[in-house]
Symmetry: C2
Subunit: 730 residues, 2 copies
């Protein structure tokens, strides 16, 4: 699917979010029915379009004239909300098709494909067919639909949600959790606004991806906040979310972080669980901010919705009390990409002048404890001094207003300072429950986000830094990626793969080497020979010592068969080894077909690494890098990226493993040619992109040599997808 194709279709979602009129099928005045609450919500929230109630048993519902069916409505109906049992849905859609004015339907009803009952799966197919022919977009079934604060639309039956308009738009893979998020949002000091909200249910037509795209293009949406359990098309999800993330923050609570949680998530949404570490890697690559819990989802979204991004990563902490200050500094310390600033000498001077003598100024770098003696004006003046420092990119501001200090006066000081310095972000934590509630409200009404506890104020700030750094990286990465691939695209690997597939087998070692070599991945130089004379010739070309190995589709474990001879020093040894291998193979499996014998250079030992690539069920080709042996097996010291991987990302991979010092001269070791490793990672990613027939490659070990001397895949295993499995690995 091309993104560009879909961009144009997004207008087809307008009737879902901006309908001129809405009809509720199953409108009711019985408070125990969804159709009651849906009607109630539309009326009470003040939906700006026309509302039509449909219920054959009623003349009136909640003051609305009631129609017996959809066809009976004389006015134009753009969106229908279907809240009747599943088996009645097709008829309603047929009526909608007949009317020709209905452009979209939200199907609240459940009892479709999610039951996994064949009859119900069929029912879902039926409604999709009716809708497609009539050009009606379907949301659901088994969903609660959408909310939009611009026109006060609400198709859900959630009670008590206040429609305060704001910059956050929500997508949730759980209706209950999506509603919970709004309830938490509305219990902020100032009820936190949102722009749009969606729960897509079974996604029989409108999908999470389309909503994401829609939010991406939506001028009213400044932050996308998502609750996610899993997706089945992770690669496409990444493309879409990544594209949106270039424009606006995408903050996702992806559950299934622990192993059992992951199983629970899979059982709920029916989506594939997927490896959590691959999710994290993929989200990072796409610039998606992954948060760990509901509160952090809200805290982060609030900061983005209210504040500008920091220009850099230097965050100061300004506090009135030591305890909260330390908690905030602790939290910043956990984000390795955040620095506490070096205040300029002028700033330190100013602060010392402004603040009471008990204040601690820059005792710890970038940290000011104004002390409990600080009055309102001290708070304001100190904040101004810190914000004015060119070495400061953002401030976490904390106060436990003492009894004698009016919290609202303090808030006004902060507001005054921030108004004239709106280019740097500030997050605030005033502690004191009811005592500071009004002050927090003052701040939030001015767009300064407040948090109940200092660590949450600090964490929201680190997320803003994370995004600022991502956007900067994006700028840098616009430089072209270096390419070191030999054969022209189109020729690469085609022949060897075709031949192997034709004979229904995986690649033989020389074929694998050919394929890798076409993609610029160095393997041990070698020749496949069929006679001992050719073998001698090959060894002379390569230079002794050499290695001989059998090449046979019938021998999987070459060493077990005595079919590998290493460290062959001269002609005599080669002659003997050649015959010995043939004899061993015959006695191991008398009818083994023999393609020949591979004569290879005997590679020098280097530091052993492992580079692997697999097609992940959700994200497609995923590259792994690590040190070999115990480092991967015992310490799991590996890192993942979704391919394609840029050279910059590949370098980051190599540097990000814990064992990196072992490649970089630790304990008197040599500094290795990590640039060659990075290039190998880039190339193997490219290979996987261009050769869909390849399902898995293991380069293990890859020997990396000292700087300038390159890296060599000493053993390469290339697995082709079996035709009958092809679709699962895409």
């Amino acid at each position: 699917m091309e993104l560009s194709q879909h961009k144009e279709d997004l207008t087809s979602l307008n009737p879902l979010f901006y309908p001129q009129s809405v009809a509720i099928i199953g409108a009711s005045d019985d408070p125990s029915k969804s159709g009651y609450q849906i009607t109630r919500n539309l009326l009470d929230l003040g939906y700006v379009g026309s509302i039509y109630a449909i219920n054959p048993k009623k003349d009136e519902v909640l003051g609305l004239k009631c129609y017996s069916n959809l066809l009976a409505i004389p006015e134009r109906v753009e969106l229908i909300i279907i809240s009747i049992p599943a088996f009645g849905v097709p008829d309603v859609l047929r009526q909608a098709a007949t009317r020709k004015d209905v452009r979209a339907a939200v199907i609240i009803a459940s009892g479709f494909s999610e039951t996994k009952i064949p009859e119900r799966i069929q029912l879902e197919k039926e409604i999709v067919e009716i809708a497609q022919q009539a050009n009606i977009r379907l949301m659901g079934p088994n969903c609660v639909g959408v909310m939009n604060t611009e026109n006060h639309l609400d198709t859900t039956f959630a009670a008590g949600i206040k429609q305060v308009r704001g910059g956050m738009s929500v997508i949730s893979q759980s209706g209950a959790l999506g509603a919970s998020l709004l309830m938490l949002a509305s219990s902020q000091p100032v009820p936190m606004g949102f722009n749009k909200w969606a729960h897509v249910g079974n996604q029989c037509d409108v999908s999470v991806l389309e909503i994401l795209r829609y939010y991406g293009d939506d001028p009213g949406t400044h932050v996308v906040s998502m609750y996610m359990e899993g997706v089945n098309n992770g690669r496409e999800f990444l493309n879409v979310a990544g594209e949106v993330a270039q424009e606006k923050p995408v903050v996702i609570l992806k559950v299934g972080r622990s192993e059992t949680g992951s199983r629970a998530a899979a059982s709920h949404t029916g989506s594939l669980a997927g490896s959590d570490e691959i999710y994290t890697a993929a989200f990072n690559q796409a610039g998606i901010l992954r948060v760990n819990n509901l509160e952090e989802l809200l805290d982060t979204s609030k900061a983005f919705a209210m504040q500008p991004l920091p220009k850099g990563n230097r965050i100061a902490v300004l506090t009135e009390a030591g305890g909260p200050g330390i908690i905030a500094v602790d939290e910043l310390g956990f984000a390795p990409y955040v620095q506490m600033p070096d205040f300029s000498p002028e700033t330190k001077e100013k602060l010392k002048k402004i603040l009471p003598p008990m204040a601690l100024v820059d005792h710890v770098k970038g940290y000011v404890d104004m002390s409990a003696a600080a009055m309102e004006e001290h708070h304001g003046q100190a904040l101004a001094a810190v914000l004015d420092d060119p070495n400061v990119d953002g401030v976490v501001f904390l106060s436990v207003p003492p009894t004698f200090l009016r919290p609202t006066a303090l808030a006004e000081e902060v507001i005054k300072v921030c108004r004239s310095r709106s280019n740097k972000p500030v997050t605030v934590c005033l502690i004191g429950g009811e005592f500071v509630r009004e002050a927090s409200q003052f701040l939030e009404l001015e767009g300064i986000p407040t948090y109940d506890v200092p660590d949450r104020a600090a964490r929201a700030m680190t997320r803003m830094v994370q995004r600022a750094l991502y956007l900067r990286k994006l700028e840098v990465s616009k430089e072209a990626t270096e390419d070191d691939i030999k054969a022209p695209a189109g020729e690469r690997g085609r022949l060897v793969i075709a031949e192997a597939l034709a004979t229904g087998r995986n690649l033989l070692e020389p074929e694998a080497c050919q394929l890798l070599s076409d993609y610029g991945i160095n393997t041990t130089p070698s020749y496949l020979v069929k006679t001992v004379e050719k073998g001698l010739e090959a060894a002379n070309k390569l230079g002794y010592p050499v290695v001989l190995k059998i090449v046979s589709t019938d021998i999987l474990h070459k060493s077990d068969a005595g079919a590998v001879k290493v460290n062959i020093q001269n002609t005599e040894e080669l002659l003997a080894a050649y015959q010995e291998i043939l004899a061993n193979v015959r006695s191991y499996k008398s009818d083994a077909s023999i393609e020949g014998i591979l004569v290879c250079t005997m590679a020098k030992p280097g530091v052993e690494c492992i580079i692997g690539v697999k097609r992940d069920g959700q994200f497609g080709p995923v590259v792994m890098f690590g040190l070999g042996g115990i480092f991967v097996e015992v310490f799991k010291d590996v890192t993942f990226r979704v391919a394609p991987v840029s050279l910059a990302e590949a370098r980051e991979m190599v540097q990000s493993i814990k064992g990196f010092p072992l490649l970089n001269g630790a304990r008197g070791r040599q500094v290795c040619d990590t640039e060659s490793l990075a290039q190998m990672i880039v190339n193997i990613g490219k290979l996987m992109e261009e050769c869909p027939e390849v399902s898995e490659i293991d380069l293990n070990p890859v020997a990396v040599y000292e700087q300038g001397k390159g890296a060599l895949a000493l053993d390469a295993r290339v697995i082709l997808a079996q035709p009958e499995l092809k679709d699962v690995t895409k």
Copy 2:
């Protein structure tokens, strides 16, 4: 300090927490003064004793008759609260001494030793002397003192704190943070009660440790909750807190978790920062529950205050909505010591019968998603079924009550079930803001703790499991520790240490070996010889090959001096090596004193480990264990415990490192004699306890051999404390 001595003295703190009468020095009717708010609090909260106001400028304060000074009060005064400038404090205390009835004073005033000004330090000494002579206990100065909900005492000037009585007692090293904690507590669905509260300030007399002890003995205190920045006597703190933790939960938010945070903490309290990983290890050993933030401190304390401990670690999750359920399962999954239970077949049968067909029962082990179709009675019946299962030790219960379900009715169902099954803990999260507020209140009034978000409900439960497991471990550890130490206590190491100290030097290698050997720690067998003949004799006894090393107080780096010869195979080689070493030493340092030459067995290579022990500034001897070389240097794969270490703890140390599989047969390796390593850890801990002169030992490497073949310290460095440094290492 012996704990037992102090136990009796705890009654001297009674006048602080249970005074019959209180006098406020500096009582005021000016709302901008502390003395106003203190008087206000005592009056408004309804303190049960007599209150006397002292202010020479007033006749009446807030309706209380005002006395000109302490001596003017005709009635008995037990506790005085001093809220006047620092320099007035000695006089007040002298008056108190004259009266003879005053038993304790809370000194709110600041401006003493915390200013680090010599004059002010002296002032603090002065007040301590006056008080000691008069047998008056002092709390502070620079503190806000105590609260007690039993008699409605409040010496603080914090405004707006509700005195709801509960089982939690608080100690805070920050007045602001301690007050914040109570404010957060009072914004729970039902204001969360506390029993006592204390902020000790400068601790010129009453210390954190005494308060801890007092809470430990206090029948009204069921949970001790502490905010901690650092202590200077970590070892004693551990002893006290550990003793309390055997009786009741001790939950501590210790800040300074990141490196910068740790520096900020040290600058605030003036206490030593200390290594955060040693704090964590020490807290674990002492059974102290360390939490990560204020909210978790409260969440955990609430669970302990309200619910029974689980009997085991099998925690079920029962939810009405998938999203919240997964979040809870995720959280449990992060606690490696928590298991989700195997429901009995009867339970599964019951649940399937009770719940709507859409429910997912045990789809994931120990997890039930009741589905959105679950009504009130389903919630109750399912909870009963799960609690009745003998395989379940506790339940995390979650619901996003749908619009049609009355949350309070649901809460009543839960209460009914829990009332008759009060032996297993339940934590609850109802989501829905105001919509569920009343239901949450119902639950909390019945002692069932509720949480805003599912992960916090789950985390509180994991903390209860952690405590249950600690108490079980405590039971088990009452079995005697095996002891493998050779020399009788009293003789061990005394001579070699005394000799080295007498000559002002560290231990020579053979002395270090002697000391270690006295403590059952095997080093390479060796003889110190002074002639080549004795050398030959020694080699014959040990058997070839051997190693020769110089023993000289003047040669620190033996290899650099050419003073080590390894792999000596026979008499000839030994004769040559002996002479060569002597010659090399002479040319390296012509006047080097030579104690002799050490002839050692050439040890077989084993798996290299490292065992080290140091005296930590706060916790005294701390043992470290890890694999040697790159594993400690690059991967930092090490673990710490405060000594003495029991054999069970030592085994746990060995098994807890990431690289443990390398000692345990991974990748075709041999299974090593980890029991010998554990014993070596126990023994080195004992050595440090008994030999205060030793400040540091490094056994690096320790070679461990296959099972039954033991472990050998191949190189041992023992550092003695220099006399002038002695006090800092205690």
